[in-house]
Symmetry: C2
């Protein structure tokens, strides 16, 4: 699990609960564990979460990527390419990389815009930069708590999307999604279709602003 | 109804069926009526549709805009600003303009990208250019047949969005949506929230490509 934020924490805890061996990767283990203040969103410090999850290991990005059979990109979208560079191209080669990040740009205030969109996407940028890695974009369209436990909302009667160039990698990720509780999974196609799920974020943000609750998702009624 | 394409035709016919007096506006009535070939998507020529809908009037853009109490922008998104210029700022002033267009850019092939997105939207461009008009963005997230008859899919159990700066104009449009059969209508906020519903189009296009059927819509499950 690359990324120590709330999304990475939530998914790492769920994967461990499901019986997977999980290592969380961070730029500097010492720095991440030394922080004792809540983050800018008021979440408790990472070290506190680590203390509560003794079954989850913590390592440098490159070590976590090297250990992982399957790697999850839960870093901030705006810094994902840099974090994946630190994880190391050879450590990521041939592996399934589940990209759950959104390329949010907070520099112009709230709600954020996207750092890449319309004729490109973060998923494609990652796939181009790491051509030997099998990138699958998914889960970026739902709140972290729903990502790993969709059945807590309407019994799971809503939709998740996957995008990626490698059918086998997508089958692996769909099985993981089923372990989380997802039943309606739409395969949008190759990794360029990540433009679709990433560009949904501006709508997600405004729906959240209107209903004042992040615990929602869309169901594709057909 | 500004626009003579399939979307304009479908909505004009429905409005007439509901008892509204409808005038369809086109750049040149003579040119529009003279065409006898199907359009590029294989739809029958406009003149044939006019013959089948004798209760709908046809006029030049400016005349249609001048007559209308409420004006619908169903022109191609890429040409909407130019069409609205032809409709005339004074003819649109103080009126509710229901903007159902999407700024689709087909110049790079299929699926189309957007001509404006991320930090701006077509809805905002129109509102800026016509500050005395009350622009409400809606209906752009669904196929034309569902727009005007949502109950044909899952009894109408799916969601429509509205965006606009004028609460009274949005109330008028919500009433129109209810006449069509919409019951779950989310007010996203001011016209800048049109970025959300317009940027959903790339996802809509890829869902359609995957399920191979345009008769779907999203339900916001919350």
């Amino acid at each position: 699990m690359l990324g120590t934020g709330p999304v990475g924490q939530t998914m790492a805890a769920k994967l461990a609960e499901l019986g997977h061996d999980v290592t969380v990767g961070t730029r500097s283990v010492a720095d991440a564990m030394a922080r004792s203040e809540p983050d800018t969103f008021g979440n408790p410090p990472f070290s506190e979460w680590v203390g509560q999850h003794p079954q989850v290991a913590v390592a440098a990005l490159a070590d976590a990527a090297a250990i992982g059979e399957l790697v999850v990109n839960a870093t901030n979208g705006a810094g994902s390419l840099e974090a994946l560079e630190a994880a190391g191209e050879e450590n990521l080669a041939r592996k399934v990389l589940v990209d759950i990040a959104n390329p949010l740009d907070f520099s112009q205030g709230m709600p954020p815009s996207l750092t890449v969109s319309n004729t490109d996407s973060l998923g494609e940028q990652i796939q181009r930069r790491f051509p030997d890695t099998r990138v699958v974009k998914t889960l970026n369209t739902a709140n972290a708590y729903l990502m790993v436990d969709p059945k807590q909302l309407a019994g799971g009667d809503h939709t998740m999307f996957v995008s990626g160039n490698d059918p086998e990698a997508k089958a692996t990720v769909r099985e993981l999604l089923r372990q989380f509780g997802w039943s309606d999974i739409i395969d949008l196609g190759g990794i360029s279709t990540a433009r679709g799920s990433e560009m949904y974020l501006p709508l997600w943000l405004r729906i959240m602003g209107s209903i004042e609750n992040p615990m929602f998702n869309i169901k594709v009624v057909r």
